[in-house]
Subunit: 123 residues, 4 copies
């Protein structure tokens, strides 16, 4: 088993435009979750903003021994995440998982990438 | 609650030029702070240089259940941070927070991005 | 001795195209392993997917006081890793090592880079 | 005090070419060290390769309450670090410091950036 049950990502931003063929080169903000264990995980993602109440939780499943790469711009229940707005997120899972944050920014002609492991909590 | 009360970021650099529409595509160095807890946070940011005394502290508020994404080039009290100069920073908060560091560099025609979680101290 | 025996990387993706001279500028996904200790390491890499059983283990050697930078697109025993497909990975070593994940994406005319330290387990 | 006395960076690579005005836009691999404490630090950097003995140590000073951003391509005592060759590094300090790794790659017309905190050891 590897990972913990709570993760935080202070940086989040969905750009408003894109360049290049979709969906591969569409600007996106990704939350990659690995469940390397033997039990299915239910994860709850809460999204924090600068000047309003948090959104969510967005509830997703990550089966045992599987990974899922979620795009924040696809979350729409209970609400869509606004474009062009800074946000942050917290992931809470019912079994240990590992979380990484990646962005592809294709607003200009060439794409740019960033990635970092999320910050692990005590679970 | 997730996070700790002290964070360090050894890398810092505000480029001197930009390409593209401002303010979205202006070169910037960002400190993203998430306060996922139920108490407001006061954060003090100290900036370290190669060959002079540290600057600051820059004092900011991050309310409970909110995130703020600070641009180092906007800090001006007690003094502006010089452009084109390497620096580092330490964040100290009175409640647990999580810190991430991101740079958009738009000096050339296309932008480049970097990001990493800050290094957590013992709080 | 520095490091631990288990590491996780939730993000993985081998782009399907490249621009620029090969092999330096070929799109690639790299797993950098440092064995700073005095004993040779055997590492086993397991690759996780969204909708099928994990692949591997891919077994490699990292001699004492050496580093090896593996490209996921070169792994072919027991099977190749599919292109254009999200994956994640877990590294298990028989002595402490340190793991970092880097991607060069050269699908568009200019390259993009991301890198993050892998998440350490308890080993 | 924040940080620890030992850090590892498995990824290292000095590209062989550059585009754009030097030295700002020269391709470089940077080791950023923050000494936020009140005692001067002496740091020893050892560089590891794939198929030869490690190089170094490269010995540098980071005064109290200062940061220094070292470029690997400037290290030349006891020897230069070869270009176009994968390497890794370990930093050992006599007081707690914090280390971050950044690369600017300007081989193509536009620059690319990566950055990650180094992996902390036990000190």
């Amino acid at each position: 088993m590897i990972g913990t049950q709570r993760w935080a990502i202070p940086e989040g931003y969905i750009p408003e435009g894109s360049t290049g063929p979709e969906p591969e080169m569409e600007s996106h903000e990704t939350l990659c979750i690995l469940n390397a264990g033997e039990e299915d995980a239910t994860v709850e993602i809460t999204v924090f903003f600068t000047d309003r109440e948090p959104a969510g939780p967005y509830v997703e499943e990550v089966p045992a021994e599987r990974t899922r790469h979620f795009r924040f711009n696809a979350f729409d229940d209970p609400e869509e995440i606004p474009r062009g707005t800074p946000f942050a997120s917290v992931v809470e899972a019912d079994v240990p998982v590992v979380c990484q944050h990646t962005r592809l920014d294709s607003r200009q002609a060439e794409n740019a990438l960033l990635s970092t492991m999320a910050h692990p909590g005590d679970g």
